[in-house]
């Protein structure tokens, strides 16, 4: 594995499978009475969040602590960013403190790439950049699909075939502004899945040239053939940009309502990166039905991030119980 995790494409199919295999062991660690291993003892991980995301930050910090790393939190609101310090100054200041990894979240696409250029030693992990990528979300999504299908007795992929071989997955909603969608498309397709993007044209990227996906504007016709329906959060301010007439119309055409959820086949999974706008992209009752694995995604987030931190920082360290 390279020094950084910036894009899901840094990993490739083999890398994703490696992370998932390792995640299995960290799921086991997380289930112990004392869910902690000494793998990263003496290492320091900084979470550098320029954009509020308590969920993702806590997930990474919990993962680092369970590996016995020291954790520092840098949030833009409590930092010198508001005092006019440049992004580069901030990053170099943090490096000077002697650290091993930086987990970066920023509203601007590409910031983790810039941070990686400016740092000399530490690893950079992209915890979500603008509309661009969110690789650990894609990893936990792949892991959750694999895990939940196994738990539900679904047929495993043939020997030698990738983990999501032949699955039909639809990603529904605001693809244009979604870092989750960009990383998931790369991850799902590299693991052999067929991906359909379902959205009004205003919420699709302006160009899909080179994207290995199909596109539909008709959710009802897509739902019956799906193994996974992946719903994206709809930002309520999109109406102001003339991207949608109203939330009501969005829900009526692209929301996973109770009625629409019945079009899903047996065993189809319902996923969402959170936080859910209940009643907008998905009906409240649907969130709580058994085919919804949204809570499991969150639970797996910690184990997946442990696997990523371990692969980047713990090379050569034996994985033993504390």
């Amino acid at each position: 594995m390279s020094r950084h995790l910036l894009s899901i494409s840094d990993l490739g199919a083999d890398g994703i499978e490696e992370v998932m295999a390792l995640t299995d062991s960290f799921v086991e660690v997380s289930s112990r009475a004392i869910p902690r291993v000494p793998a990263l003892r003496g290492k320091t991980v900084v979470s550098l969040f320029f954009e509020d995301s308590t969920r993702t930050r806590l997930s990474f910090e919990t993962a680092a602590r369970r590996l016995s790393a020291d954790v520092m939190t840098f949030s833009a609101s409590s930092s010198s960013v508001n005092k006019g310090e440049s992004l580069r100054d901030t990053v170099e200041t943090i490096e000077a403190m002697g650290i091993d990894a930086v987990v970066v979240r920023h509203a601007g696409s590409g910031v983790p790439w810039q941070v990686a250029r400016w740092l000399h030693g530490p690893s950079v992990i992209n915890a979500g950049d603008g509309w661009h990528e969110h690789p650990t979300q894609a990893l936990l999504d792949c892991f959750t699909i694999r895990q939940e299908r196994q738990r539900r007795g679904a047929a495993r992929p043939a020997e030698g075939r990738p983990a999501l071989d032949g699955l039909h997955i639809a990603i529904v909603g605001d693809i244009r502004h979604s870092r989750v969608a960009r990383s998931d498309v790369l991850a799902f397709t590299s693991l052999g899945a067929h991906v359909t993007l379902v959205a009004p044209p205003t919420l699709l990227p302006p160009s899909l040239v080179g994207w290995p996906v199909e596109v539909s504007h008709d959710l009802d016709s897509v739902l019956p053939k799906l193994d996974v329906v992946y719903l994206l959060r709809l930002q309520k301010e999109r109406m102001l940009e003339a991207l949608l007439p109203s939330l009501r119309e969005y829900t009526a055409t692209y929301g996973l309502t109770r009625e629409r959820a019945r079009l899903l086949g047996d065993g189809a999974l319902i996923m969402h990166p959170g936080p859910v706008n209940r009643g907008v992209e998905v009906a409240a009752e649907v969130v709580d039905q058994p085919s919804s694995v949204i809570t499991q995604q969150v639970a797996n987030g910690v184990a997946v991030r442990m696997a990523v931190l371990y692969l980047l920082l713990g090379a050569g360290v034996e994985l033993v119980a504390a």
């Binding site: 440049s86 580069r88 696409s109 590409g110 910031v111 810039q114 302006p206 160009s207 899909l208 994207w211």
Partner: protein
């Protein structure tokens, strides 16, 4: 005295020495032997002796952004690039929108390495609401008016500006960008912006305003200059407008014929510029329009920015890149055109658009002002940001190998660059 070069100007080519006295060309001849004692001799062997280059589009940042560039440092960069005249854009702070600021910039330029001219704003404060006092600025010699940095959005105001300007014998120049359609996009909208998750501005945001202004030029009869055109569609419209007899001119920048939006994949804001780097097919269209004469000038859009402002997230960094010191080398290296065509695009055609032909752009003839550059068309060099004379470092060409460079620059008879070294 410039010895041993080949003179290339709009009248043709000849091997000859050029003797300069009192700021003007005194003698042209082969192997001039009667040279007054103490005459500085500039070696031009293997070189082209050309009229000094003229840049229609440079941001010299003064007043207001002296940490990025000053008139003096920008003029030095220009002279090193072979320019003897530059037109300073008015998006300073305060904007060049009245005689006082015009005078200030002209004063700052006096005694610098280059003949610094000024473009005035079309509207007060470049706010797009009220006409700036164009007559008062024209009285100080301002020939080009533009709100560059943004386009004049209001069609009625632009129409009135054209009508008003036509009585002054000046040219309006437009930065073509429909702000509502561009929507704050930070790069060209297309395959790359979609993949990179960066808000884009479509080619049509530029083309809509080109289309509107061509219609207004037809309506008013005004002469229009189109700044930094970057799309195939814009150039096709200019081609059509010229064929139909409209008096319009157009410029393109070196970065729009050498770089594409694929560069943004690095997320390095040094590649952020407005109009943005476009697609491969747009780059090809720009080159074709340079070759077939639809484009009248290569202009740099030299836009210095302090280092720290370019060390920000891509969507927060200001647009713009350096250009004065690399334009000639890029044109000679990347364009498959004879040197006299390249010089037409860099010297005498822009001199004509800027109304500077009395002093700049040649021809090189006895009695004419000696504003000249000596170009070594075979000089190989590599762009090194640290070696640039500009106060800023935001060149997108770091490490790029170029062939062709200015050896000497002569401004009104004075050598301001000798062997690649600025003398002021």
């Amino acid at each position: 005295m410039i010895r041993g070069g080949t003179i290339v100007d709009l009248t043709g080519t000849q091997v000859a020495d050029v003797l300069i006295q009192d700021g003007v060309v005194a003698t042209i001849g082969s192997k001039i032997s009667s040279v007054p004692a103490g005459t500085v001799v500039l070696d031009a062997s293997g070189c082209v002796v050309a009229p000094g280059l003229v840049d229609l589009h440079a941001h010299l940042r003064q007043p207001g952004r002296e940490e990025a560039e000053t008139v003096a440092t920008g003029a030095r960069a220009a002279a090193l690039g072979g320019y003897t005249a530059v037109v300073a854009m008015p998006n300073t702070e305060p904007a060049i929108d009245c005689a006082a600021v015009v005078r200030e910039v002209l004063d700052l330029g006096a005694g610098s390495c280059c003949d610094v001219r000024v473009a005035g704003a079309i509207t007060v404060g470049r706010q797009g609401r009220q006409l700036a006092p164009m007559a008062e600025m024209a009285g100080l010699g301002v020939q080009i008016f533009t709100d560059d940095g943004c386009g004049v959005q209001d069609a009625r105001l632009m129409r009135r500006a054209m009508e008003y300007a036509s009585a002054l014998g000046v040219t309006l120049a437009q930065h073509c960008e429909d702000a509502s359609l561009a929507g704050g996009g930070h790069m060209h909208e297309g395959e790359w912006s979609s993949r990179l998750g960066i808000a884009g501005q479509p080619a049509e945001a530029e083309e809509l305003m080109v289309m509107r202004d061509l219609a207004l030029a037809r309506l008013t009869g005004a002469s229009m200059h189109f700044l930094h055109l970057s799309t195939a569609g814009s150039l096709a419209m200019i081609r059509g407008a010229k064929a139909s007899g409209l008096t319009v001119t157009a410029e393109v920048t070196p970065h729009h014929f050498t770089l594409t939006d694929a560069e943004v994949a690095s997320y390095d804001p040094v590649f952020k510029v407005n109009p943005p780097l476009r697609s491969e097919s747009d780059v090809e269209a720009v080159k074709a329009a340079l070759a077939d004469g639809v484009v009248d000038a290569i202009a740099t859009d030299h836009a210095p920015h302090a280092q720290e402002t370019k060390e920000a997230p891509f969507d927060e960094a200001p647009p713009g890149m350096l250009g004065l010191e690399t334009a000639l080398g890029l044109a000679l290296t990347e364009l498959d055109l004879p040197i006299e065509r390249i010089l037409a695009l860099l010297s005498w055609q822009p001199a004509d658009i800027a109304g500077l032909t009395a002093e700049h752009g040649g021809p090189i003839a006895v009695g004419r002002p000696a504003n000249l550059c000596v170009i070594d068309p075979t000089a190989k060099w590599v762009v090194d940001p640290a070696a640039l004379a500009s106060r800023s470092r935001n060149t997108p060409y770091t490490g790029r190998a170029l062939v062709g460079r200015t050896r000497h620059t002569v401004l009104f008879g004075e050598p301001v660059v000798v062997n690649g070294e600025a003398q002021r």
